[in-house]
């Protein structure tokens, strides 16, 4: 072997090593590309314009819609609608927007017309129907004896008004100031606003209940909501919550943890509530990221915070302090952020914007509490505990808004109570008379439920699944947000998470071994050096 040859091989090795060093640089080009099903900007603006173009009807030309309609006479409009859409009545009256009770058998009982209870406004059933009916797709619901079989009581306009001028008042009636004929001539497909007038205002006011739904969505930037922003996908609610003969698809309180929506035949009408319906279950360029889907909901990484639009959501509602008066009058208190921390009619409240969700194992079963349920001994009472664990193959880590509350209950019957809250002075309603005893007594009477006559307050918690306000891919969580000792999943138990779970014992053992070897070699080396100097 010639000398030249040997030097050649030496340089070859150096070159190969250099090439190997280049690997990390190569790796830099491998990002976490999330694939969007749509390439163009605002794709759904086009979809909606196309749908409008294809329409064969122009409601402004229909004589029957020109009215004139009497002030506030919504039923007259409904009758006009039904002349051309006779089957709509039956469809609407079968839907949960009308019955306030989900169709699915396993969800029956979970609705505002049932004994379902929450820790915001508590229950419609305590005689609060008239106030709550502003969000009922009907006219005239003033108590629990509302006639669900009268088709003229259907409110078509609340879902089909395209002007944004329609408004409902107590009992669900149209505000008499609303020009019904104008609105009737401009009906159309539901927009963000139609759904939003109720669903943005859950809990009685904008952004209060859900956390991921408020009216900032109407003017959202893509960073606030990548789907519903006009500059984003420009989608409306019904693009995902597809309706089937007036039954708008929706989870009805219990959001599925891992819904698979796939058409079984061409043209099948199906909802697209699950992210996977459009994005597939492996939308990332990285296999490792795609595998997260087995145990992590899309929402967990892609909704880094809720209430991102600028409005604060309610995190805590303490009814037990409600009813305090200042100089004999109800009053409000605000903190430096302008958040209402106290209101005589509500009690103490906590609000926050841009909130990190709570992460919980969830398999699609949220078990809600009813007014007729006996309370468990555990405090606080979990009103809708999520089922699921790491071992549960159907469960994923889901983001939730965690809501705490303190609400009245009957310590003798050990049940929650439905107070009569929304009513005038002298009616026994809490917001009129500020007397819990009469408010509960009246409420339970109106609900047709027993009440021992004794009340107290109990701490409760609720989980609200976070699934809207999806952020652009670049704003999703990074690995370290969870794969870290102090990461977002610090409290999620039952499994080993790389980067989070680092036993000190193993580190101690390992570093001791490494340290001993290092110390031994160092000592040996020093001795060699010293002895070499001597000899």
């Amino acid at each position: 072997m010639s000398r030249l040859h040997r030097t050649g091989s030496f340089w070859r090795i150096i070159a190969l090593l250099g090439l190997a060093m280049g690997l990390p640089a190569l790796a830099q080009s491998v990002g976490q590309k999330a694939t969007s099903p749509h390439r163009s900007a605002s794709p759904y603006a086009k979809v909606h314009a196309e749908a409008a173009r294809r329409s064969t009807a122009d409601h402004s030309q229909f004589k029957i819609l020109k009215g004139p309609f009497k002030e506030g006479d919504g039923s007259a409009v409904t009758k006009a609608c039904l002349t051309c859409h006779p089957k709509a009545a039956e469809q609407v009256m079968g839907s949960s927007h009308w019955t306030w009770n989900p169709k699915d058998k396993h969800l029956a009982g979970y609705g505002k017309s049932t004994h379902l209870v929450n820790n915001f406004c508590i229950s419609a059933q305590g005689g609060n129907q008239a106030a709550c009916a502003r969000c009922h797709a009907g006219y005239g619901m003033t108590d629990r004896h509302f006639d669900f079989s009268k088709s003229e009581n259907i409110d078509c306009l609340v879902c089909h008004d395209t002007t944004g001028d329609y408004e409902k008042i107590a009992g669900g009636f149209p505000n008499p100031a609303v020009p019904l004929d104008e609105i009737a001539q401009k009906v159309g497909r539901s927009t963000l606003q139609n759904c939003g007038v109720c669903h943005f205002f859950g809990g009685g006011a904008d952004a209060t209940k859900h956390g991921d739904l408020d009216d900032t969505i109407l003017k959202a930037t893509p960073a606030m909501d990548v789907h519903m922003s006009k500059q984003g996908a420009a989608m409306v609610c019904t693009d995902c919550h597809v309706s089937n003969a007036h039954e708008v698809s929706g989870p009805n309180y219990v959001i599925p943890a891992d819904k698979r929506e796939k058409a079984h035949f061409p043209g099948e009408s199906m909802s697209r509530m699950a992210c996977t319906a459009c994005h597939t279950d492996s939308p990332h360029a990285s296999t490792v990221l795609n595998r997260h889907y087995r145990k992590v909901a899309c929402q967990t990484c892609h909704i880094p915070e809720y209430a991102r639009g600028g409005l604060a959501s309610n995190l805590s509602w303490d009814w037990s302090t409600a009813g305090k008066l200042k100089d004999g009058r109800p009053y409000k208190e605000e903190d430096a952020n302008g958040f209402e921390t106290y209101n005589t009619i509500h009690g103490d409240m906590v609000w926050a914007k841009k909130v990190k969700p709570s992460y919980i194992w969830y398999n699609g079963n949220l078990k809600f509490t009813l007014l007729t349920d006996t309370l468990p001994t555990q405090r606080p009472v979990e009103l809708n505990p999520a089922e699921g664990s790491y071992a549960d193959s159907a469960a994923k880590i889901w983001p939730f808004k965690f809501h705490t509350g303190k609400q009245p209950f009957d310590p003798v019957l050990n049940r929650l109570v439905a107070p009569y809250t929304a009513g005038p002075k002298g009616s026994g309603a809490f917001w009129g008379d500020y007397n819990w005893d009469t408010a509960i007594k009246t409420g339970m009477e109106k609900a047709g439920l027993p009440y021992s006559g004794k009340y107290d307050f109990v701490s409760t918690t609720m989980l609200w699944p976070i699934t809207h306000m999806v952020a652009p891919a670049k704003d999703s969580l990074s690995c370290k947000d969870c794969h870290d000792q102090n990461g977002r999943l610090a409290g999620v138990e039952g499994f080993y998470l790389p980067g989070r779970d680092r036993g000190w014992g193993i580190d101690f053992l390992g570093w001791t071994l490494v340290g001993l070897v290092a110390a031994a070699t160092l000592t040996h080396g020093i001795l060699r050096y010293l002895f070499a100097g001597r000899s």
């Binding site: 072997m1 040997r6 091989s9 030496f10 070859r12 090795i13 190969l16 090593l17 190997a20 060093m21 690997l23 990390p24 790796a27 830099q28 491998v30 976490q32 990285s286 490792v288 595998r291 087995r294 071992a391 193959s393 990074s478 690995c479 370290k480 794969h483 870290d484 000792q485 499994f495 080993y496 790389p498 980067g499 989070r500 779970d501 680092r502 036993g503 193993i506 580190d507 053992l509 390992g510 570093w511 071994l513 490494v514 001993l516 070897v517 290092a518 031994a520 070699t521 040996h524 080396g525 001795l527 060699r528 002895f531 070499a532 000899s535």
Partner: protein, 209 residues
Amino acid sequence: MQRMVLYTLFNRLWHWSQAFLIILLALTGFEVRGTFAIFGYARAVFLHNTLAVVLIVLIVFAVFWHITTGEWRQYIPTRAFLREMVAFYLTGIFKGAAHPVRKERTAKLNPLQRLAYLGFKVLIIPIQVTTGALYYFYPNLNTLGWSPSTLWVIAVIHVLGAFGLLAFLIGHIYLATTGTTPLSNFKAMILGWEEAHPEAPTVSSEETS
């Protein structure tokens, strides 16, 4: 002075790329564990998984090389000169004593090296490869009919193996400085040859005598 070829081109390529891969795997692996942050978590995970596959391919080539060239014989443990080697490292080396074992092409490893490298090849590397594969395919183990209740057992063994490799690396680099000159072994591992010292006995001469 005579030049003795000790390490063939493949031997050197294999050695250095393995060294490079193991060091990078250690860096990225400890980053995934959360010990420090160098590459960024996503890149560390990607590199760790990719380099692991590269290392496995390299190991397949190396196994083939060991078998076909008969180089595997060089790792057969022997007790010959074992005592002398220990004594050399504990005392002789300080007094400037000559290395008790001479290297030659067919017996380039001293008895301590044989033990250490054999352990490295048949113990640490297989443990790391096995636990690494189990770690990567952990989400798929269910479908393979085996579902361990938790990942931590696999992770702990993998991490202990990594600490073992780290300790090996330190000792290995240090002992490489105990050649004729502190750098002669490094030069030999790069160039392939070193100057021959015909005076000392070899492991193979002892075994055959």
